[in-house]
């Protein structure tokens, strides 16, 4: 039960922060899974991707009703991105997990700086 509540809190935080600050869900989900639920780094990124399927699908359904989605342009950027993602996940299996933690630490510091500097 406690764990379900923690997962719910992470989902709520991801939605709230992306709405408020325009950051993607993964930027919030991955560090929280690592530091709060003691996920391994690879597990955190893999599980974050599963969450993003739902987040992006729901959000794009909303946006489509406003007519803001350009399918041809989405394909132009998305199709090569799929190949990039296959390469990225393969590459990730070959680097030390701690490198992912350190990269996210740098991202968090950059994000904090962006928010603090008016």
């Amino acid at each position: 039960m406690r764990r379900t509540l923690q997962l719910a809190a992470i989902g709520t935080a991801a939605g709230a922060f992306s709405g408020l600050f325009g950051v993607g869900g993964g930027t919030i989900i991955v560090p929280l899974l690592i530091t709060w639920l003691a996920y391994g780094e690879r597990e955190a990124t893999g599980t974050s991707m599963a969450a993003i399927i739902v987040i992006a699908a729901l959000a794009v359904a909303m946006q489509a009703t406003y007519g803001n989605v350009d399918v041809a342009n989405a394909a132009l950027v998305g199709v090569p991105a799929v190949f990039g993602a296959i390469a990225g996940t393969a590459l990730q299996q070959r680097i030390p997990e701690r490198a992912i933690s350190l990269l996210f630490a740098a991202i968090m510091v950059a994000l904090a700086a962006e928010l603090i500097i008016p």
Partner: protein, 131 residues
């Protein structure tokens, strides 16, 4: 020519996404607005559609590598719309500056924990016992 840049940036965004477990919108949105002339709102919406197949394929690959807790990921995803509503309520009741500073503090706290974790010593190899 602009399309070539978009394809290259798409590839890079997907690579970054697969590596870090993020959608890649941080690269897709500027690519769509700068090279294809989309407005900020349109670029964000179009980027979300591009993220769907990226997340599907990355999840499929990571599942093969044994790195996905599918049920937990789906719970997180399903609760995110609630978070968007919470964000709207919070934004209407707290000053934007206070919110920015609170989130910055949280980000720095998380960064410190990640650094501590990233710099921990690897588990030492077990010392072989003497016969």
């Amino acid at each position: 020519m602009d399309e070539v840049f978009v394809v290259i940036l798409g590839l890079l965004g997907g690579l970054l996404g697969g590596l870090l477990g993020v959608g890649g919108g941080v690269v897709f949105v500027p690519a769509l607005s700068i090279f294809l002339g989309e407005s900020q709102v349109e670029a964000e919406a179009t980027s979300l559609l591009a993220i769907v197949p990226v997340a599907l394929v990355a999840t499929w690959r990571q599942r093969r590598y044994g790195n996905v807790r599918l049920r937990e990921g789906l719970i997180i995803g399903a609760l995110s719309p609630l978070g968007v509503l919470v964000g709207v309520v919070v934004a209407n009741n707290i000053s934007e500056r206070a919110l920015e500073l609170a989130f910055a503090a949280l980000a720095l706290l998380i960064a410190a924990r990640l650094v501590k974790r990233g710099l921990r010593r690897p588990e030492p190899d077990p010392v072989p016992e003497r016969p």
